[in-house]
Symmetry: C2
């Protein structure tokens, strides 16, 4: 019953790909809030809005708990770690590659132009 979906990059990126949902995250970053308060700024019916909240929860970005008739939502920034890790890795690979190219070019330039480069 307390089933918790594993946090996947698919769900995370998809959750953040919508302006309404990003706005909710931004609002929750300021502090926890009940559903009605989160929904207020968005010009749409409650059920539509709830679907957005659902996707944020499924992505692991938000958790919520119901007390009485009010559901309070909380931001869980740890979920963003997976995104940043992925991005960092890609950038690292790319810049690492550029660095190697750079050093190669440098070593070519350093040698007397007539000699071919050492490949050891």
């Amino acid at each position: 019953m307390d089933k918790q979906d594993p946090i996947t990059l698919d769900a995370l990126f998809a959750a953040l790909a919508d302006p309404t949902r990003r706005a909710v995250v931004a609002q929750l970053a300021e502090g926890p809030a009940p559903v009605s308060e989160l929904a207020a700024p968005h010009d749409m019916a409650l059920p539509s809005f709830l679907k957005h909240l659902d996707r944020l929860e499924k992505a692991g970005l938000v958790r919520s708990e119901k007390t009485g008739r009010v559901r309070v939502c909380t931001f869980h920034p740890e979920a963003l770690q997976a995104v940043e890790t992925w991005i960092d890795r890609q950038r690292r690979i790319w810049t690492g590659r550029l660095d190697r190219l750079d050093r190669l070019a440098q070593s070519l330039a350093d040698q007397s132009p007539s000699k071919p480069p050492e490949t050891s």
Copy 2:
């Protein structure tokens, strides 16, 4: 003709929300590659694959140029900056808020337990 879409968070997050497209980005991070080479690892028809490439280009993550009959694609990591900036901001807001709560709790604890907290 040389119209370049503005890089939006919507397009970026959506582009990265698909495993095929993330794999392409990962592959391109290792260095530029022609379409056929990028498509090879993915078990789908070329036109289907091209749609993925398209979305990566529209998002600004990839650019491509055709020489002869071959189209070579290049990774453009600058596009990822927008994503990281957004994520950083949300986290900063959240942790900033936690810090303030922390200081408040600290100052409450520092006062003699009988006195109510100053609200100035």
